[in-house]
Symmetry: C2
DNA sequence: TTGTAAGCGTTATCAG
DNA sequence: CTGATAACGCTTACAA
């Protein structure tokens, strides 16, 4: 009963060659090996059901063939899509994908970075952490850690705005938000509310900025009483709905820009609960174009980010960096707005809200 | 410019002790080390910013502290939730989580198993593969591989029905489907359609079986013309909607059991497109209780599976198995039905469908 | 073209 | 309590 996995030594022995030769065959080295011995080794390996030990190989080679993706929460559809893209590319190049949930907590983030350093991960992809907060003490350690990881030769890529020293591919949050707001303005809306993301999260602030810019460019002064706090989750949208419902009628906006789709879903649900009719009573748009965006009622107007593609691009950049074949440092990833039923012209919006 | 990570040898040197001693301190061994030397080592390690190499450690220890989770698609909310649970437990015990998308393709599954064997993954969690198909040639190789992995000492846990030799924790699909169908019957529905999952997927068939059983127990003969092919995705639901819409009025069911929530979403969307009013024209239920189930209009009646908890349980079982502290082989995970607005009494269903 | 042997960074065994 | 040394399984100079 041989429960032990055979090693390359066993293969060599069985094939009647040296370990070096066996290794050269098994590792797909370019080193010349005669056809005859090659066959012998291959045969022995097959018979022993030899499986190379990646751990040993990695230890020797100083590269693990592991790529990690740091996300806030892998069950959040946004991150899930990105991770999917990463995994696709990683897998097709013989890399394994490690998933790390940080919950946007610098402590967890740091802890994971530490572990990934221990494992000598070859690549690390950040997405959706990106805090504006420089005051948090862990941020310094994170910066430190990142530099250390890079010095080791590992590649780091950011898929969201980050004030860290690393190559990045960033969705055009500002542009998308600007376009989306312009679209609402074109529909005739002027009182447009905004449900924010978590405090200090850069992506959220970029979208806010795009919204503000579009208003200003149209000669409208952004009204901070139309800003509602959200958290990128459904709950935040629901809370915003409750607040909107409390607003005296004349203070109500005719449209709301939710900082991401998840928030928009919560907002729509909440307004529904409060008896609002959508989109007649209010127009709503989100950001991200999650798969559910077209399925909700009414279908959600939003900005599309090809998340899976973003993930793929991120992984590809990692691979390029590992081969020192990438010089560009900052790339922008396009966003395009998707017009659906949740936004209608202001003229068609119910001005008389007695129904509510 | 020392770009090389310091090793334990460097720490030992700096602390003026042997590598053995340094290792004993750093690895948290129970081996006695005098307080003084311990301090010295710790200090040296800190000054050098020493990071233990997990690869080397794993190679030596013959365990990698890697747990893999095999899913159909990590962006599918069902799998995403499970993976989240796995990651939580894994991380809190110092394990990394590897995500593997199999797309329910035996070839990809096999390829991943191979790689995981190469990496000496300590635990592998299967979820949502589970084909009834024994005829596919890869299945034999997969069985083989699994046995080999287990012989190596790695733990394997299935979170969905599977005809493989491994411990499992299975959601009560049959019971949940039975209860859900009974509920529809209690509401007075008798013509209840069923949208299936992908062919040969065991979970889907279990749900179908529960549905059939409930009908039979109520003296109703299951009518195969009310079976519509689905694929666990929105698209399948949309196709079923189109087919329902084609049905002559008198042949239409008054309720539909969609094999999972995703399918139900597609179905609802499709019916909407075709001008059906929900739930007045037809009652719908899903299975799984995804986060979006309560957000769609009307809110979806479904069977709840605590997916994150399921993932946690799976990871915990892996850990227990690795310590040979688990004897139970088959566990069932409860499902509970959640009644929402998408299902109404048959009496309230529009019999006159002129509106359509 | 093949083989020998050193070494990747740890930990465990065995002597002191 | 501490230290030298042999593994773990693999790759790669360097020799032959």
């Amino acid at each position: 009963m041989t429960s032990e996995s055979p090693s390359i030594v066993d293969v060599a022995k069985k094939a009647g060659v040296s370990v070096a030769t066996a290794s050269r065959v098994m590792s797909g080295s370019t080193y010349p090996v005669s056809e005859g011995t090659r066959e012998k080794v291959l045969l022995a390996a097959r018979e022993l059901r030899y499986v190379p030990n990646s751990l040993a190989r990695s230890l020797k080679a100083q590269r693990s063939k592991l790529i990690a993706v740091l996300v806030g929460d892998n069950a959040d559809p946004y991150f899930a899509q990105v991770a999917r893209g990463v995994e696709e590319v990683a897998n097709s190049h013989g890399y394994l994908t490690i998933i790390c949930n940080t919950e946007r907590d610098p402590i967890r983030e740091l802890s994971y970075l530490q572990t990934l350093q221990d494992y000598r991960a070859d690549g690390i992809i950040f997405t959706g952490s990106g805090s504006d907060e420089t005051s948090v003490p862990e941020q310094l350690e994170i910066d430190d850690m990142i530099e250390k990881i890079q010095r080791r030769g590992a590649a780091i890529v950011m898929l969201s705005p980050h004030n860290l020293q690393a190559p990045s591919i960033q969705p055009d949050n500002l542009g998308g938000a600007y376009e989306l707001t312009r679209y609402l303005l074109e529909l005739g809306h002027t009182r447009i509310a905004f449900v924010t993301g978590p405090a200090n999260v850069t992506v959220a602030n970029q979208r806010l900025q795009g919204y503000r810019q579009a208003l200003t460019d149209s000669g409208i002064t952004p009204d901070d009483t139309l800003l509602f706090p959200g958290n990128f989750a459904q709950a935040g949208g629901e809370r915003a709905a409750a607040m909107l419902d409390q607003l005296p009628r004349e203070k109500r906006p005719s449209a709301v820009f939710a900082c991401n789709d998840e928030t928009a879903f919560g907002l729509m649900y909440g307004l529904h609960q409060h008896g609002w009719r959508l989109p007649e009573d209010i127009s709503i748009c989100g950001f991200g174009n999650l798969p559910m965006a077209r399925m909700v009622t009414p279908a959600l107007t939003t900005a599309n980010i090809s998340l899976r593609e973003l993930g793929r691009a991120g992984a590809q950049k990692i691979l390029a960096l590992l081969q020192h074949q990438d010089t560009t440092v900052q790339e922008t990833f396009p966003t395009t707005i998707v017009k659906r039923a949740s936004t209608i012209p202001f003229a068609h919006t119910t001005s008389d809200m007695d129904n509510k």
